[in-house]
């Protein structure tokens, strides 16, 4: 079982006991039509688009895998049914996930778990979290423990007196 950082603590993601990764990944290409009918399932956007009704009908929680450049309009209809949105970070210096997270939180009111996965490193955790991510699958899960300190950096920013300052 891989560990992830969720709400600033290291947790074993143990919803789905069958796999090392509790979220069973299905068909990156979206062409694999089959998926388990129960359990927590993390599906690519394409599969959601192809099998929307079947996915809604199944038991268990549902998560969506998206890329930083995906358009929220393409999956806004899924948001109310999702317990997890996992945004892929292809390269740690690719900043698109940051803006997408803000849009999901602020514009679409998404309140479920928002996870960054891929090239996710300790020194980006702070800003990612301030943009709305609350869950992180590190590139190197073994470094989760030492990475927690990142959340304590630049704490003064949260104590800024004016709303416009905190909005940044």
């Amino acid at each position: 079982m891989a560990s992830v950082i969720r709400h600033r603590t290291i947790v074993e993601d143990s919803w789905q006991p069958l796999e090392a990764d509790p979220w069973l990944r299905v068909g990156e290409s979206g062409l694999v039509p089959d998926f388990p009918v129960a359990g927590d399932l993390l599906v690519p956007l394409r599969l959601w688009q192809l099998r929307r009704d079947d996915l809604i009908a199944r038991d268990g929680r549902l998560g969506l895998l998206i890329e930083g450049w995906d358009e929220p309009e393409n999956f806004a209809d899924a948001l109310p049914r999702l317990q997890l949105v996992a945004i892929h970070v292809p390269q740690f210096a690719d900043g698109r996930a940051y803006s997408l997270a803000r849009i999901l939180r602020q514009r679409h009111g998404y309140a479920g778990e928002l996870r960054a996965f891929g090239d996710v490193l300790r020194d980006q955790l702070l800003y990612l979290s301030r943009c709305g991510f609350d869950s992180f699958a590190l590139r190197d899960p073994g470094r989760a423990e030492e990475s927690l300190a990142a959340f304590r950096e630049l704490a003064a920013a949260l104590r800024r007196p004016y709303a416009w300052q905190r909005a940044a």
Binding site: A93, S99, R102, D123, A156, P161, W164, A167, A168
Partner: protein, 565 residues
């Protein structure tokens, strides 16, 4: 001068602690070169040809004497005793050791300074008119707005990993002294018919490989919406700016690919979602920032006509500027003495300038994007004394606005990206034009020099621009004429220079400049017509002819023959 509040202070201190830890982990090989790069860049640290380079932010060019003394101390302790003022109102140290940088940043934090986001693919130090707050043609004092932008952009978590660097300039006067059309975003602070403050928003300007004059995307943005509108532009850029090719990653390319009209529509649509959101400003917000600015306690004086002759007279004419407060003047401290690299200052000079600022200018100074310093508030009665002291320090060269006030990047002597050196070229030109009477007769002329296409010396917008190019491993120089940094006088908008022809070897450059000047002097209609005005009136052909002579004519002749055949 803006004074930090407790949170501002805490933030820069926490930033130092963060970077200290990052540097430690890098040196311990916990962080790879690639992983460390954006972290150090966002703390101002480049790794250059000879040594690291640390770029210290001087937000909107405003500096206190106390801060300048700290910079002098850093230059002496961690560097080789000098610093270099850049075209973006920053100060660069060229020789610090990586291991020392956290300590240097800690020393800066003590005097409310930092190096946050002075490089890297993020929102850079905001720049403005070096006469903000004192210029007679000022419409809106830009400092408060610059400080708001500084606070909003510094450590903004959403925009730390943009496709490319992002530069914002603000100008609040009739004349554009901040080159707003050559920035990713340019803002003109102005007032509408009802006297309310707002901004004309310009986007997509820039230099570099593909120079572009920015497009006005909004004529009047009420001040409350300043930050949400910036947020909309930055968010669009962050999401849609190209990341596949770093030469096409600036916002100007996005604006061009979408077309300015479509870009404007997208910005407005995004902004509609953000308008009146949490980043909307209230009067209290602005007042609170304004209250942290200490303004000079002016005396009630009358304007005096200061009669000065000779060298002091020349200095008064070129380096002293009108002030909106009667009895006061702004003074340019020229960092363009022949033989000194443009923008360079020694630690001893910094200390001396700080002392002069205390005695003559309320302890404040500004850095201009022309790489000079400015005492913004000097009593007219003190001008002659100040001149004497500056002259003794070698800082009274009366050349502001003239040909030898060369704007130059550090070039091949320091910068690892350079195609060619720039400092020796600047010096050779200064030597060629060392006759002061001749220089003053030539009149206003911006000469800008960049060592490569990155255009740190803003050569595209120089009346004369010089660009270092690489020809089969040799250093050559391409020359443009007719550029202009912005609406500095009515009818003279921002413009990009045109290339006059094939490039030149280094030794030929001063001679070429001389011939351009001769062509101008022979054709100008009056003493008031500047070099660039003449270029605009008659076109570049007569200048080409003067420079390339018969060869050029012969080529043209052949081309005509070919065309006729």
């Amino acid at each position: 001068m803006y004074t930090y509040d407790d949170v501002d202070q805490r933030l820069v201190e926490e930033r130092v602690a963060q970077f200290r830890d990052q540097t430690r982990r890098y040196l311990a090989k916990d962080l790879s070169e690639d992983e460390f790069r954006p972290l150090r860049l966002q703390n101002g640290l480049y790794l250059q040809r000879h040594a690291p380079m640390l770029r210290v932010a001087i937000p909107y060019g405003l500096l206190s004497s106390r801060q300048l003394r700290t910079l002098a101390h850093i230059a002496r302790t961690y560097d080789r005793g000098y610093g270099h003022f850049s075209t973006r109102q920053n100060l660069q140290f060229n020789w610090p050791r990586l291991e020392d940088v956290p300590e240097i940043l800690a020393e800066l934090a003590v005097v409310q300074m930092h190096a946050i986001q002075t490089s890297g693919n993020c929102i850079r130090n905001v720049t403005t008119d070096h006469f903000a707050g004192v210029a007679r043609d000022e419409i809106v004092d830009s400092f408060v707005w610059c400080e708001l932008i500084r606070q909003w952009s510094a450590l903004n978590p959403e925009f730390a990993y943009l496709p490319r660097k992002f530069k914002i300039a603000v100008n609040g006067a009739a004349a554009d002294r901040a080159a707003t059309f050559a920035h990713d975003i340019g803002l003109h602070a102005l007032k509408n018919g009802a006297g309310e403050v707002g901004f004309r928003v310009i986007a997509g300007g820039g230099m570099g490989r593909t120079p572009v004059i920015g497009h006005v995307i909004r004529e009047f943005l009420p001040w409350r919406h300043l930050l949400t509108y910036l947020e909309a532009i930055l968010r669009l850029y962050n999401r849609y700016g190209r990341r596949d090719n770093k030469y096409k990653a600036r916002i100007k390319i996005l604006v061009r690919e979408l077309t300015p009209e479509a870009f404007r529509e997208k910005v407005e649509a995004e902004w509609l979602q953000l308008a009146d959101g949490p980043a909307t400003l209230s009067e209290d917000d602005v007042r609170a920032i304004e209250a942290r600015f200490e303004r000079p306690p002016y005396q009630v004086l009358a304007d005096a006509t200061v009669a000065a002759l000779g060298a002091c007279g020349a200095w008064m004419k070129r380096n002293v500027h009108p002030h909106k407060q009667p009895g006061y003047a702004a003074v340019s401290v020229s960092l363009k003495k022949t033989g000194v690299p443009p923008g360079d200052v020694t630690a001893a000079q910094m200390d001396a300038i700080a002392a002069l600022a205390d005695r003559y200018a309320f302890g404040e100074l500004r850095v201009s994007h022309e790489q000079n310093l400015v005492f913004a508030d000097v009593r007219q009665a003190d001008l002659q004394d100040l001149w004497r002291e500056l002259r003794a320090l070698g800082l009274a060269t009366p050349n502001i606005g003239l040909l030898t006030n060369i704007i130059s990047c550090p070039g091949g002597d320091f910068c690892s990206l350079a195609n060619a050196k720039s400092i020796p070229v600047a010096e050779a030109i200064q030597r060629r034009f060392d006759d002061l009477d001749y220089l003053h007769d030539i009149g206003e002329l911006d000469l800008n020099l960049s060592g490569c296409m990155n255009s740190c010396g803003h050569h595209h917008v120089g009346h004369i621009g010089i660009l270092g190019v690489d020809k089969h491993g040799e250093e050559w120089y391409q020359i443009t004429i007719g550029g202009n940094q912005g609406l500095t006088r009515p009818g003279a908008p921002a413009a990009l220079g045109q290339v006059i022809g094939p490039s030149f070897a280094r030794d030929d450059v001063p001679g070429v400049i001389e011939r351009l000047i001769e062509a101008y002097l022979a054709r100008r209609e009056s003493d008031d017509e500047r070099f660039v005005d003449t270029v605009w009136r008659i076109g570049i052909e007569p200048f080409k002819e003067k420079v390339y002579g018969k060869r050029h004519q012969a080529q043209d002749h052949r081309r005509r023959q070919l065309a006729a055949a």
